[in-house]
Subunit: 326 residues, 2 copies
């Protein structure tokens, strides 16, 4: 029930997703009447056996403080969906709602992995070739070296379950020289060395996220959020700018249409909606957060992320790594 | 003499620049033999009266510590060029060399404006329409609220001399809600309110840089550097990706050539080289820093920035603002 758009576009996206992924099951948590009236407008015969609706009488609002939601919204769609993952009934949860509330409820219901101080938010950036996981993206604004080291392990597990070998980890800084940055980064730099589970690249700069050099870029939630929002802003601006450009004359419209047909893959990669779906990592279970402003296309991208993660289970690999080092 | 490429491409760029800007004068500081042999390969008749060469016997290396350069490189091209601005002989200096050394020498030779704790590095981002100045971009990794307020004024002066009215200033944070971010940001948020010289937007996120909402985005040097490098990295990745795409078949090559001819303005804006030239602000004088890896095209863009700033003199406006508030 979260997100800026009505649940209808998310319901449509879920049905489309089931049609494309014949092994997936989806349970929609929310206001039953709303969800069923939305489903009644769609052709769901082919997927009805893999689609359930569970009624949730409460909604977590976007403004709600995490602590308040945790105490007072135990009949919300968010709470019920997370409970279904906690009980093992389902393998992943996807929400477009209040991020802080989702994190608080996930920590409470699923629990944080042994050896992880606090979960982080992570996104797989849309570069061609090898993936690049950036974390934290905003859950932890101020962090210490020990936490940054945990982020490195979380990211490495995400890359490893995708088959990346060796996983290359970089530490985000304002320069690659050894003496750069804050004391926390200097300390983290030492902690990250000599871990057999990944190859440590040392300090990297913001451009590393898109250059296919690092598979994991580790940073505090402030820097990560800034990097993500700035590059999403640039991508959105470029798309708008191109659209304006190609709308300016009939000849450009023609060329734009040709280009649109041909370079559609490129545009998809450029469009932030195409890589919607951030991971809450460090938890005992798979939790995916869709952007609140996502449309149906964006929500489908996030569903793909949830489906992939449910099969790859980076949380289980991470748990086994953490138990080894303990 | 700074930068990764040989001085030749910078010499060529300077000559081309003079041909396009008939009121500009350029003095090249560096190894006289190298510069003159480079000039001898070019047709400089039309601009010779506006082009000088001054010999500098030392070079500041990229690895040199700022303090060391300051003490031991007083016959370097960097030192001599800054001295010429300090004496009023010239109106702006452009360097592609060691940023730390340039900042240290500029502070020493030109001086910091009365009321400014430390200068900042600032860049005009390549958005269409109203400009967006982002600062600091890496000179000050850790800053307090008072410094961030100084950055806001520096940025506002840069926008004001471009004719932006009213200048809209945003404070970079991980969310727009009032309670977000660190204590320093909370404190700065209060300091920035109710200044008649700009319109304060409150907290903005990284995407504000490219959305034409804010004319000034204020942040510490760490966040600014990350935002800049991440978006430059994305832009460079997208250009490469497009090039690869259009090289893949004869039909795409044809379309790509058409597109290249038509959308050249768009590509120019996308290309980080097109907006090369960062400003060192808060100093008594105009100092522009070219990216060390800039090619001739990038260096020409930085020359344009230096030329514009020499005529607009944001440092003089800022000085008058600071004297009023003192």
């Amino acid at each position: 029930m979260g997100g800026d758009e009505s649940p209808h576009s998310f319901v449509c996206a879920s049905v489309s997703f089931l049609k494309l992924h014949s092994l997936a099951h989806i349970t929609l948590f929310g206001d039953k009447a709303t969800l069923e009236s939305s489903l009644s407008t769609l052709d769901i015969n082919a997927v009805a056996s893999r689609l359930n609706v569970v009624h949730a009488g409460q909604i977590v609002t976007p403004e709600e403080k995490p602590g308040v939601a945790l105490r007072s919204k135990q009949r919300s769609s968010m709470w019920l969906a997370l409970s279904a993952v906690a009980s093992g009934e389902m393998q992943a949860v996807l929400s477009a709602g209040n991020t802080g509330a989702l994190m608080a409820m996930a920590r409470h219901l699923l629990g944080t992995l042994e050896g992880i101080e606090r979960p982080a938010i992570c996104k797989r950036m849309p570069v061609s070739g090898a993936p690049c996981f950036v974390l934290d993206l905003g859950a932890n604004v101020k962090v210490g070296a020990k936490q940054l080291r945990e982020f490195a392990l979380m990211g490495a597990a995400l890359a490893e379950v995708e088959g990346v070998a060796p996983v290359k980890v970089g530490l985000l800084n304002v320069g690659e020289e050894l003496q750069k940055g804050t004391e926390v980064l200097q300390e983290t730099d030492k902690l990250l060395r000599d871990d057999p589970r990944y190859q440590y690249l040392g300090f990297v700069e913001g451009n590393a996220i898109f250059e296919g050099v690092a598979n994991v870029v580790v940073c505090d939630g402030f820097a990560g959020n800034v990097a993500l929002k700035a590059s999403e802003g640039l991508a959105r601006y470029l798309i708008q700018d191109l659209r304006r450009y190609f709308a300016a004359s009939w000849w450009r419209k023609f060329l734009g249409a040709l280009l649109g047909l041909m370079a559609i893959g490129w545009f998809k990669r450029l469009d932030p909606a195409g890589y919607n779906g951030a991971l809450l990592v460090g938890l005992k279970g798979v939790v995916v957060k869709s952007h609140g402003g996502a449309d149906g296309k964006g929500f489908q991208a996030a569903l793909r992320v949830a489906n992939d993660q449910a099969q790859r289970r980076p949380d289980q690999l991470l748990a086994s790594w953490l138990s080894q080092s303990a």
